[in-house]
């Protein structure tokens, strides 16, 4: 077996240096390393892997060639959302998250990684303003994980084991929550009003009980409409001794009221809309928020960065609040859930985004999304046989388009659209058979009138 000598990434792959170091250790060759590995499980030859590219240039040309096979949402007009949304990413967000220092930092202390601590503390603080809560965590995997942890927190706080969730939610998210909570929590679906999409209050009242740890609902919902009965749902939960846990799209909070103001005890959501590219789903990042009460704070599994004075007057420092909660602390598996590498860089990015957007930016963002999506609904609705919005409710950013009367399937329509360089909305026909041939369309501030008009024209051509 032979190693790769003088490899640019490995300074000590130089033979002379190896000899010098081996001598220091008292052995003669690299093969004598790994003396502790039993011979019978050692590989006897090199692994059967492709030869490496012999230069950075060839590597780059190869990977670029592969990636060029992808068709992007820049060259095409994209109306897919459903948990991963195309928003404009201000240049400053990428500038900061590509800074080598942030990109390659990891587990340092509040002194030598001061900037990382401050940037993440600030991200927490900025999201806190958006949701009007006092505690936000260092980000977790994605919005689904955040929701799963939020209801587990509720389970621990209430010491109950049932959670009511909306039927009108993302099936993938449901599966994630279900797997994550298995054994400890039972998830029970609450129906929705087929006309308005709103949570069926009657069904909710029927299913809530003294076993209910939390009522979880989303606003805007997965299907895009705005849940109008936030306070009512929270009240029902509270009256039953359960918590109100609300999933939220942070991009809506410049114009929409934060769930904390209609009774939410725990808020969860995904940071991806806040300055993070879609990255084929790699941009997801979850957050939770609560009030600053010990019973909530102590149930977070995540790291929580706190601010504190230092020995120098007027100077700020940072640290881990209540570290021993976590599985990194003394309690290990008896800590809260577990903690590990999650999505900190996206948290920093979301912070940069919110600091750049400010209150006016977030308001204008919400407004532009509402105007453009309403325009799209109106225009699509005018197409023969197509319902621009299936639900009789106001929506934010996403909406369900129904094609039942066109006689075409969403699958057929989307195939047609791809040829027009348009990515049609997510096909709902499998996960929501009750909605017929429906697709979930997403319109954000990135869509120009021309983009929407091109969609409408293509749809018209397709269904005519």
């Amino acid at each position: 077996m032979q190693g790769f000598k003088s490899h640019p990434y490995i300074p000590n792959s130089v033979v002379d240096v190896q000899q010098e170091m081996l001598k220091e250790i008292g052995i003669n060759s690299l093969e004598e390393l790994h003396a502790e590995i039993p011979e019978e499980i050692k590989l006897k030859g090199n692994m059967n892997l492709p030869k490496p590219f012999s230069s950075e240039y060839e590597l780059r040309r190869h990977v670029e060639g592969l990636l060029k096979k992808n068709k992007t949402c820049k060259e095409n007009i994209n109306f897919l959302g459903a948990g991963c949304w195309q928003h404009y990413v201000p240049a400053i967000c990428d500038e900061i998250n590509s800074r080598g220092e942030f990109l390659t930092a990891y587990g340092g202390e509040p002194y030598n990684d001061f900037g990382r601590f401050q940037a993440l503390f600030e991200y927490q603080s900025l999201v806190a303003e958006l949701v009007d809560m006092d505690v936000v965590n260092v980000p977790t995997m994605d919005g689904a994980q955040a929701a799963a942890t939020a209801i587990r927190m509720a389970g621990r706080i209430t010491k109950r084991n049932e959670v009511l969730v909306p039927k009108a939610m993302d099936k993938e998210k449901f599966l994630i929550m279900k797997n994550y909570c298995a054994k400890d929590l039972t998830l029970i679906k609450v129906d929705y009003d087929i006309k308005t999409g709103q949570l069926d209050i009657e069904d909710l009242n029927k299913k809530i009980s003294e076993k209910t740890a939390a009522v979880f609902f989303e606003n805007p919902s997965f299907l895009g409409f705005i849940e109008e009965h936030g306070q009512e749902i929270s009240d029902i939960a509270h009256n039953a001794g359960a918590l109100s846990v609300v999933g939220v799209d942070p991009s809506s909070l410049g114009v929409m009221i934060p769930p904390s103001q209609y009774g939410a005890d725990i808020i969860s959501g995904d940071l991806q809309p806040l300055g993070i590219h879609m990255n084929y789903g790699g941009g997801q990042s979850g957050f939770m928020a609560t009030r600053d009460e010990e019973r909530f704070v102590m149930e977070f599994p995540s790291r929580l960065f706190g601010i504190a004075p230092t020995i120098v007057e007027g100077e700020y420092g940072f640290g881990d609040v209540a570290y021993d909660r976590t599985s990194f602390g003394h309690h290990r598996h008896e800590g809260k859930e577990y903690v590990g590498t999650q999505t900190a860089l996206w948290g920093i990015t979301a912070g940069v985004y919110l600091a750049t957007m400010g209150p006016v930016g977030m308001f204008e963002l919400g407004q532009a999304i509402m105007q453009k999506s309403q325009y799209a609904i109106k225009k699509i609705n005018a197409i023969n046989g197509v319902k621009g919005s299936l639900f009789d409710a106001v929506s934010f950013k996403e909406f369900v388009v129904n094609f039942d009367e066109t006689g075409k399937t969403v699958r057929e329509i989307n195939k047609f659209l791809i040829e027009k360089n348009i990515f049609g909305g997510k096909d709902l026909s499998k996960d929501f058979p009750e909605l017929g041939e429906s697709a979930l369309y997403c319109v954000t501030e990135v869509h120009t009138k021309e983009d929407i008009d091109r969609l409408v024209a293509a749809l018209e051509e397709c269904v005519k």
Binding site: H7, F102, E109, R332, M370
Partner: protein
């Protein structure tokens, strides 16, 4: 830099960026958009975000970045267990191509053939590196991968109808805390195997622990001590004999690439942290990927979809896992694709000989550091005396503490004055006054010597001027923090608004 908190930079009226607005024709047709909102759903007061011009926001974060000791600027030796190695810039540039950043996870397969090909081929690479038969890149980090392994364990026993009986999971003291925490979360009772006097997991205790209740064995090997359990095959065999599964925490497989694999050691599952062994950058703590691999037998329990190739095109395969026991889903969509891409690029710049070189040099660097540090009077490392460690060592400086009163956390703070990382250990400290160092293959001999010299200097200082440690660090970005703010609910402040409330009381 003495940089304020971002809220302190706010000036009413400033803007950081202008946001696209609806065109006039749209406004003409739909109006202001927001008045359609149900009254009770309208935001009454704008969120109290700061208002800052773009140059000032930039300057703020540029300064914070300079106060962050990333691997790009630092000799990374002190973050033991973290495997902080070089992340090549070419891979970053590739990951920033719009063909990577601007693709939506629900796009039709025909429009994402490039990334699917990369993920599929990375699966093939991982199979050969581990000996497993199928990988998923869905887990967003090592702990989530452990949780996923535990989920597969549950699914497997469910499918075999013995879910109720199989309710214990065994791990070891020096495996990662998540090897206990994640299975515990999945409802398993956790049994820890303590080390024997040589630091190996105690085989006698293990024999006593394994039973028909044993659902699985979760273990890292080498463990955080750098000690490799030479009898690992006996451990895995015993578990198998009792109907349990063996799950290998290979978050950090850096010392073993091309030397030995999960399959040969008898494991049914394993996972790699792509951000450790496979060089993707840590990003201050993610986004990341815990690439999880299983044997053919367990494939059907994996989270969906798997990525496959039909000879012509790459596609998302939902069929294999289409059964009621399968885990379903652990993370949205298909994992963190750019991380997979970077790992692919890294492996393809290494090849089998490069990976072998990585393992050898990681172990060489570690044992060189080990040798040099053990020559210092106040440094010791418990267990397997005189033998090699794999890729890291958990040292103890107990003697220093006894002699001078200076504890490992004091040394840690003082190291920061020299711009270096130094990590102690997970809690609780089973090794007293621990110091965990892992050089990886990235530092040169000079880098190692510099790190050693710095430690030596500080140890000497501990004997000569121990008072110097009280207020360290001196030249870091801030001075010693008042830790009392961290565990007192009346003082802790997890957000700026909370700090303002508590500090004005």
């Amino acid at each position: 830099w003495d940089e304020p908190i971002i809220f302190e930079l706010s000036k009413k009226g400033e803007r950081g960026v202008l946001v696209p607005k609806a065109e006039d024709e749209i406004v003409d047709l739909v109006g202001d958009g927001i008045s359609k909102l149900p009254k009770n759903m309208m935001r009454k007061e704008a969120p109290n975000l700061p208002e800052i011009s773009q140059p000032r926001v930039l300057r703020h974060y540029m300064r914070l970045s300079q106060m962050t000791l990333g691997a790009d600027v630092n000799i990374e030796i002190g973050q033991g267990t973290c495997t902080v190695k070089y992340s090549p810039k070419v891979n970053e540039q590739l990951a920033r191509m719009p063909e990577m950043t601007e693709i939506h996870p629900l796009q039709h397969e025909s429009t994402v053939q490039g990334i699917l090909e990369i993920m599929y081929k990375t699966d093939l690479l991982m199979r050969e590196i581990s000996g497993m038969d199928r990988f998923t890149f869905q887990p967003g980090g090592g702990s989530q991968a452990i949780m996923t392994m535990a989920s597969v364990v549950r699914a497997y026993h469910q499918a075999n109808g013995c879910e109720d009986k199989k309710d214990e999971i065994i791990t070891t003291l020096y495996s990662h805390p998540s090897d206990a925490a994640a299975p515990a979360l999945m409802g398993y009772k956790i049994i820890y195997i303590h080390p024997d006097e040589n630091g190996y997991p105690d085989f006698e205790a293990f024999k006593a622990a394994v039973s028909e209740r044993t659902a699985a064995f979760f273990v890292a090997n080498p463990e955080d001590t750098g000690v490799y359990n030479t009898r690992i095959q006996e451990f895995t065999s015993l578990v198998h004999e009792n109907g349990g599964l063996c799950c290998y925490d290979q978050a950090n497989a850096n010392g073993l690439l091309g030397v030995t694999r999960a399959r040969e050691a008898g494991f049914d599952m394993c996972f790699f942290n792509l951000h450790k062994t496979f060089s993707t950058p840590h990003g201050c703590g993610g986004p990341a990927t815990g690439a999880m691999g299983v044997t053919k037998e367990l494939e059907k329990f994996m989270p969906a979809p798997l990525i496959d190739f039909d000879g012509e095109k790459y596609f998302l395969n939902y069929d294999i896992t289409n059964n009621s026991y399968a885990v379903g889903k652990v993370r949205l969509f298909n994992g963190v694709a750019p991380v997979v891409m970077k790992a692919y690029a890294w492996i393809m710049s290494m090849g089998p000989e490069g990976l072998y070189e990585v393992a050898k040099i990681a172990v060489l660097n570690n044992n060189y550091l080990f040798k040099k540090l053990m020559e210092l009077d106040c440094v010791d490392a418990p267990y397997i005396r005189g033998k090699q460690r794999i890729e890291q060592v958990r040292y103890t400086i107990e003697k220093l503490t006894k002699d001078t009163g200076i504890k490992t956390e004091d040394v840690q703070r003082r190291m920061m004055d020299f711009g270096m990382h130094y990590w102690t250990s997970h809690h609780p400290y089973y090794v007293p006054e621990p110091m965990t160092l892992e050089p990886t293959e990235t530092p040169s001999k000079e880098d190692l010597d510099e790190y050693i010299a710095t430690l030596e200097y500080i140890f000497k200082e501990a004997y000569e001027t121990p008072e110097k440690f009280k207020n360290a660090p001196y030249c870091s970005s801030c001075h010693r923090v008042d830790e009392s703010y961290m565990d007192d609910p009346n003082k802790w402040a997890i957000t700026w608004r909370s700090y303002l409330k508590k500090s004005t009381v």
